[in-house]
Amino acid sequence: MTGDYRRFALTRAAQAIVVVLLAYVFTFLIISVLPGDAITNTLRDPQHGLSEEDIQRIVAFYGLDQPVVIQLLLSLGRFLTGELGFSLQSNLPVSQLVGDALPSTLTLATTALVIAIVFAGAIAYGAQYLPGKWAAIVRSIPSFFLSVPNFVIGLVLIEFFAFRLHSFTTTDPNSPVATLFAAITLAIPVSAPLAEVLIASLDHESRQEYAVVARSRGLTEARLFAKHLVKPAALPSVAMVALIVGELLGGSVITETIFGRDGIGTVVQKAVTGEDQPVLQAVVSLSAVVFVAVNLVADLASPLLDPRVKIRETKLKEKVGA
């Protein structure tokens, strides 16, 4: 089995790399077909005050006088060596811009992910074990969460907790409490699909014959839940969590704006308005890397978590039955 698993892991990792490269190429092509020559427009902007030599240097660096294919190859080559180029707006290295913004966003996204999982788990448990009427109410929470836009939740939380209760101040958006509320804002809509999946698979598992048989062995509902139902019900949500990471990356732009945090969201926002091609390219590629990496981990984990996924093994043959 280990040999099989290694082969499986290597194949998946190779596929992941291909996906990242394709995402890079795709982003590059999208940006290059955008109307207007973004780079030269920015460079020629008198506000930048770049000298002719500077411009020549930058043009040569990006191969801007070359055909798109050459530009792509140059850019891809630099990407593979970890060189992300320079921002056209600030002349700072892109790696520095992104590196400065990344910790803040990572803190926010990770906290949000944890909160989302906790929310989803609590909702799913409640939907399963609360008495009738309450369970029905709990079951409707995910659709409520989904239907309220992210920014409304954020504004309500700020209004109530920052301005009324003074739990945190908007002037210090990176304080732990402020981060917590920002993360809750981000987590609420994201927890909804996860909760739906958990509710559905708990419903499914608790109706399975094995749950009935386990009950016939005298297990209490709590033990049945903890020992039998949690694991199989959680398996489908592992893939869901991986997808949620994508949502968190996208959602962070809005949340960071509302809470006044500096992060990747802010970087993206500036890069888009300023047509800052190298920054855009870097951020999109970085998101692709994170997204693909998380999904890769989910893929690689599922055979370890679920024995049924293990690559085919020879069945113990029944020696008795003729």
Binding site: V213, A214, R217, R308, K315, V320, A322
Partner: protein, 562 residues
């Protein structure tokens, strides 16, 4: 009646406003076995669940009295009932493949059962578990202990479940169709083992089954249920030999093992006198009469680096208007043989001819045309019909696909097909969900007939159906064969059924034909030990001495097969 372990009095169960069980009473004495018999919808499983208090919360309401050792368990609060679970009341479920948690090892789940013994030391518990696994005939208990359910076969899983059930030494076991998901030879072994364990450990049994033959063979007394009400009850031999009610009589009449010649008249009426010297493989009958001729077909699959010979030189042939049966258990290669014949798989070697035309070396279109004369009726009518289509469209599909006739002609053909299978014309506008199992299988047969094929492949056509429905379908198939001069290839694991419907038979095992010939010869003089094992596994009501006429008939059959 203090000797009664379980007493059920006036039990009625309803799901919401719909009553499914009405005023049912019976009792099981200590050490005795009682079988609840009925078809789907008879409420037999619901009664079992009520006895075990496993009815879904809030959905089902039970009234009446279910007493275990004199205590009314319906009235007990859950806290007081829980200690009885497993320790007093064991449960063996129907489908072993779904009755164990797929993501936990057998050992982890067995520990739960062992915990009921009150033993706290896990290693002692483990020893007890390994002992009981060995007791139920599992050859390598340690390996089983560490396995996940998907790594074991169905028969092994059912042994595991029985082991877990008897481990805490309950006084009553409720077994809900414990063998209906298993191969016939395994079925017999499991039932034998259960009978033995019961005797050794002095456990009472409440057996839920649809199979009257199994019930009569394994239970001391019977309760026949229909639509949630008791039709008849009493000692097995009485109910079985001399059923008093019409329903019990018809159930008895529908057991294939007891009435091998049931469809004989209908079928032989149109057939020329059977030539006694028929032998598959070396017949001299004109090949023009051969509708299907499969010669030495081989098919290899590779699974997990291992090559499996699904078909290893399989040969069989079927004459026009006759029925040939392919018999075998799971893994015997019968399904592969059918898939090869239907062109769903390509053989690695060998020849397949349909109506004298070889299918090898022909273009796709030509083969497709040959296949048109070959239609398939699937095993499970509950899954083989598209639930979103109306019946008329389901039946019309092959016509649309082959581009047969104009639109009104197709509609006419659909009407004719419906009429031929004995369905009212208003069924055409319904969807499968609104049809019963028997009606669905009739729709599936109509779909096969609508292109007017010469050959119909029947893949376990009645195994998902109740016996009484099964009889109706088999009657229909016999009638259609006579009227339309159809050739049938009948795939089944049920030898008793094969005896009723087939003229010739091939017994398959592990991809090879171990024996073939006329049905009478195979049944009266089986040559191969595997064929004998298959015949032995047909449940027969042999224990009772005075079963009357039916039993004599059954016994003759038993003798013939011994």
């Amino acid at each position: 009646m203090s000797a009664d372990l379980l007493t059920v009095e006036g039990l009625s169960i309803a799901y919401g406003p719909t009553g499914v069980v009405h005023d049912v009473s019976f009792s099981v004495a200590k050490g005795e076995s009682l079988a609840l018999i009925g078809e789907s919808g008879s409420g037999k499983s619901t009664i079992a669940k009520a006895v075990l208090r496993l009815l879904p919360h809030g959905e089902a309401t039970a009234a009446g009295r279910v007493a275990l050792n004199g205590r009314d368990i319906l009235a007990l609060p859950e806290k007081q009932f829980r200690p009885l679970r497993g320790r007093q009341l064991g449960f063996i479920p129907q489908d072993p493949a779904s009755a164990l948690n797929p993501v936990r090892t057998i050992g982890a789940q067995a520990q739960e059962a062992a915990a009921l013994l009150g033993e706290t030391d896990p290693s002692v518990r483990r020893g007890r578990i390994l002992d009981v696994l060995e007791q139920v005939g599992l050859p390598d208990p340690v390996r089983v202990y560490d396995s996940y359910p998907h790594q074991l076969s169905g028969g092994m899983l059912q042994r595991v479940l029985i082991a877990l059930t008897v481990l805490p030494r309950p006084s009553l076991i409720v077994a809900d169709e414990p063998t209906s998901a298993l191969d016939v030879t395994v079925q017999k072994l499991i039932l034998d083992m259960l009978t033995e364990l019961r005797r050794d450990l002095d456990i009472s049994l409440l057996l839920i089954t649809h199979d009257l033959a199994i019930a009569a063979e394994r239970a001391d007394s019977l309760v026949v249920l229909k639509d949630g009400a008791v039709q008849e009850s009493g000692p097995s031999r009485d109910v079985f030999a001399a059923p008093r009610t019409d329903y019990a009589r018809s159930l008895q009449a529908d057991v294939p093992a007891l009435h091998p010649d049931r469809y004989r008249d209908q079928r032989t009426a149109f057939q020329p006198a059977r030539d006694g010297d028929y032998r598959t493989g070396h017949v001299s009958s004109p090949s023009a009469r051969l509708q299907i001729d499969v010669r030495d077909v081989t098919k290899r699959f590779s699974a997990g680096g291992m090559d499996v010979l699904a078909c290893d030189g399989v040969s069989f042939s079927v004459e026009r208007g006759r029925t040939h049966a392919l018999v075998g258990e799971s893994g015997s290669g019968k399904t592969t043989a059918v898939r090869l014949l239907l062109g769903l798989e390509q053989p690695d070697g060998g020849q397949i001819a349909v109506a004298g035309q070889s299918t090898s070396g022909r273009s796709r279109a030509e083969v497709r045309d040959i296949r048109r004369h070959l239609q398939l009726v699937y095993q499970n009518p509950f899954t083989s019909l598209d639930p979103t289509w109306r019946v008329s469209r389901i039946i019309r599909e092959p016509l649309d696909q082959f581009g047969v006739g104009t639109k009104p002609e197709r509609a006419q053909r659909v009407r004719e097909a419906l009429e031929a299978v004995g369905l009212p014309s208003d069924v055409a506008s319904r969807r499968p969900a609104h049809l019963s199992g028997g009606q669905r299988q009739r729709v599936a047969i109509a779909r096969a007939l609508v292109v007017r094929p010469d050959v119909v492949v029947l893949d376990e056509p009645t195994s998902a159906l109740d016996v009484s429905v099964q009889a109706g379908i088999l009657e229909l198939l016999s009638k259609l064969q006579r009227e339309l001069d159809l050739t049938y290839l009948f795939v089944s694991h049920d030898l008793a059924l094969v005896r009723q419907v087939a003229d010739t038979v091939s017994v398959l095992r592990k991809g090879q034909v171990v024996e073939d010939g006329a049905v009478e010869d195979i049944f009266s003089r089986p040559q191969h030990p595997y064929t004998r094992a298959l015949l032995d596994s047909i449940p027969l009501a042999t224990p009772a001495a005075a079963l009357g006429e039916v039993a004599t008939e059954a016994k003759q059959l038993a003798k013939a097969t011994a």
